[in-house]
């Protein structure tokens, strides 16, 4: 089976947790060996230990966390939640807590996961089912836009939000300064982050949604059109409900992508507690308070717990979205 994006949404992949019978049972038994199992268990441990070490360190008192290895918890089992309360609200060491950034991450990621999916589903419907000249051209152009790394867009977009754009004398994006100041209206708001994440997500989201919507049965649309339903009605009553599984998969992946993003956040949010997400805060305290292992680890665990909950509870969706979205950039 290929990982071709076309197939990922419509065709559910084998559940990563369950298994499909492909090699006959007898053959598998013959091939399985304690040696292979041992190797897998060894790699599993190797892969899990670093994260486990982070969790243990975040639960140890400052003294133990900074002056002994986390594995010594076996002989010195002191544990505390005080690191979490200090890093959440701020304390004597790190004055500003992580809590505002944690909420910023939600405030950024929820709209930034929904906007591109809604807009992409609309565009995909138009390309697939509203007949017009140039539909194929638009589809392939959008597909080709995936090659543009977001690094190409950062500087011009930042300039657009801060100073506007004009083509010679013709303004193509107005200079939206606060009245009487040099400062853009967008500074200190989530708006540039929502817009930037939506823009960067669109090529892939449109491509994947098109592949899904394109495969819906033609009779469905023809019957609706014959009954006199407008495109808008068809979209709301037919396309949206039928697309929910595809939208969910891509939206979950997009949510995690935005939650984990640092580059877009640093560019468009700066580091202020008003809008910067948790990744920006973590990168910042890693540089400034790197020696405060008990607090850094607690902060990092707060940041990764949300993706981990999403990952373990929605693994099936996550895998589909990931396979589809892994070429995103």
């Amino acid at each position: 089976m290929s990982v071709e994006a076309h197939e990922i949404i419509p065709m559910p992949l084998p559940d990563p947790v369950g298994r499909e019978e492909s090699i006959p049972e007898a053959a598998r038994r013959k091939l399985s060996s304690p040696w292979a199992s041992g190797l897998v268990i060894l790699i599993t441990i190797l892969w899990t230990v670093p994260t486990f070490g982070l969790l243990v360190t975040s639960l140890r008192p400052a003294e133990q966390a900074q002056n002994s290895g986390w594995w010594t918890i076996v002989t010195d089992p002191a544990m505390t939640l005080s690191n979490y309360s200090e890093v959440l609200t701020g304390g004597s060491v790190i004055p500003n807590g992580i809590a505002p950034y944690f909420f910023n991450s939600f405030a950024i990621a929820i709209p930034a996961a929904i906007f591109p999916l809604v807009i992409a589903t609309m565009a995909a419907y138009a390309i697939a089912w509203v007949p017009f000249k140039g539909a194929t051209f638009i589809f392939f152009t959008i597909f080709a836009l995936q090659v543009i790394p977001l690094q190409m867009s950062l500087l011009p977009l930042l300039q657009m939000f801060n100073k506007g754009w004009s083509l010679g004398p013709i303004p193509i994006f107005p200079d939206m300064n606060k009245p009487g100041t040099e400062q853009s209206l967008f500074v200190g708001t989530y708006v540039p982050l929502w817009i930037a994440h939506t823009m960067f997500a669109l090529p892939l989201a449109i491509f994947l949604m098109h592949n899904f919507i394109n495969q819906l049965p033609r009779e469905l649309f023809e019957a609706a059109r014959v009954d006199g339903a407008s495109h808008f009605l068809i979209f709301r009553k037919l396309v949206l409900p039928l697309s929910v599984p595809a939208i969910a998969s891509i939206a979950i992946f997009q949510f995690l992508w935005v939650w984990n993003d640092l580059l877009v956040a640093l560019t468009f949010a700066g580091g202020t507690p008003d809008v910067a997400p948790i990744t920006a805060y973590l990168a910042n305290i890693k540089g400034t308070y790197g020696a405060q292992l008990h607090l850094i680890t607690a902060g990092a665990f707060i940041a990764i717990i949300v993706p981990l909950i999403v990952f373990f509870s929605l693994q099936r969706f996550f895998v589909r979205g990931l396979l589809a979205g892994s070429v995103k950039g």
């Binding site: 990563p16 500087l155 973590l282 940041a303």
Partner: protein, 326 residues
Amino acid sequence: MGELASGLVKIGTGLAAVAIVLGLLLLIFFIGARAKGRAQGPVAIIVFLGPAVLLLLYGLIVPAFRTTVGSFQNANGKNFVGFANYSWIFTAPGNSTFLINTVLWIVLVPLISTGIGLMLALLLDRMRRESISKSLIFMPMAISFVGAGIIWGLVYEYRDPSQVQVGLLSQVAMWLGIDNPPNWILWQPMNSFLLMIIMIWIQVGFAMVVLSAAIKAIPGDVVEAAELDGAIGWKLFSRVTIPMIRGTLIVVLTTIMIAVLKIFDIVRTMTNGNFGTQVVANEMYAQAFVQFDVGRGSALAVVLFVAVIPLIAYNVTQLRKERTIR
């Protein structure tokens, strides 16, 4: 509790923005639905496609054009300087560090990640109870690069050998009889490889899951027929399994390569590009947003863009080919 209240306000802001945008769209839908007869098609196209086209135009097409122009301009974008920024990238003393590192990253990380991922996929295919292992190895994929940087920063934590060790790697080295483990993050040129391990840690799960799906999709009768012909073990692997999943293997390799090419967060979090660990994507960020040299930053972005094109083009043709074969 003030924190919680202001936090809820923030989430409320996000939800309100969603409600406003969806409400606006619904309103436009109702207006659009009033179009009658021949106007229906064009109105629908404008309403459905308009937002996406505008966002792509402003978000990708115009910026890509502007960045390309900017790459031929000086630091503040006032004068044209020809290819000066590009010749700076490839000839300035000191820049060979990030160029060589980037090449090492895009060669080693995809190969090693895919290699380990393939091995795991093969081993797991023979095991009955694979679920827990698979989930745990796949888990790093959900963790941000910054989070991964902190997780591995703890592993690489350095303490003087005379003191109690805090970092796992130093402790393991001492248990193995290396009495004087180096300060890992400062240990050139090995520190670049230690940063690559973080990326490998993240990408192995991706390779494993995708390749595992490909291996499971090999028809059972193909395997049985090969076994009847005496193909077992290495022969089965090299003559049957690998050719059957070749396309997927290449997609996994190139996909990781594209991700690695743009790697920024890990290097920035771990070393900020110091100690000989710089890579192109982080240099681009540093030039554009720390040095405020728009010309060099843009030129580095264009280099990334040009480097990504053949990978994606190859990926697409490979997928096309595979599609027509089936």
